[in-house]
Assembly symmetry: C2
Homo-oligomer: 132 residues x 2
Amino acid sequence: MKYSKATNYALHTMLFLVSAAPNKPIGVQQLAERQGVSPTYLSKILTKLVKADLIESASGANGGYRLKRKQEEISFLDIIHAIEGTASLFDCTLNHSSMCPIQQEMIEAEQQMERYLQNKKMSELAVKITVD
Amino acid sequence: MKYSKATNYALHTMLFLVSAAPNKPIGVQQLAERQGVSPTYLSKILTKLVKADLIESASGANGGYRLKRKQEEISFLDIIHAIEGTASLFDCTLNHSSMCPIQQEMIEAEQQMERYLQNKKMSELAVKITVD
DNA sequence: GCGTGATTACTCGGATACAAGATGTCCGAGTTTGAGCGG
DNA sequence: CCGCTCAAACTCGGACATCTTGTATCCGAGTAATCACGC
């Protein structure tokens, strides 16, 4: 089990957008070059973020992507869910007579992690990245 | 990101072993049939549990698998780590100048989940499965 | 100047190629139990 | 009754085959800003 690279790209892109000027859209080329990934692939990832209503896109010349919400209203979990989906990490394929106790514990464990990510907002990190 | 089916099989097998007689080894065929999976595949999974020192195997006739530790000393995390490995869920592939702040948060989030799984012992579930 | 059209710089979406890992199967080898058989 | 041998019931491990998913590329289409040109 691993988080996908796409999640990695998404998080870093969001972090960059947060630290950039809020109004000017930033082209996908610039974002891709910064992370060493192809622009076409990154745009595919960003499309998911657009559909999740985290960012918005401006087409045409001088187009690009910019935040749609405030920093304080964007959590790690929002981004991760946009990329990885919201399905549970664990599926009990066995058809028990009753609800699977293992499944219940796994869901609870997962929620522990999600609660933390839900409370982590982009604004907390925006301070740290003045240089890098 | 998903937990693998192997983890599912491993957890259910452990739960069954916990609720069974502690001394008599249980054959892989019986375990496999119960979960609707091929015996050869399940044995491959159980080999990992053996290497993790959670269970032990007895070869030859009347052989099989049995617990190596007490119920109270086997946590969900032990089993999951045995199957999925202990590597971090998130890898920042970008080579920052400094340690990646995103990576740090993700590791912290992951530890939230692992702490919960570490504290969940098999003995807690053994009670629930009298029927199922 | 001022509209109008062409060019340019972008995003968007589908189709497709590629790679890696998860999933599952097959088979030969080693190991223990227990039954059968001969002394 | 004892000991030997042999078959049966197991696990073990490596080598495959297959399938799904993540990763990445290519290309045509649409869209908005900007520039050029003619009036």
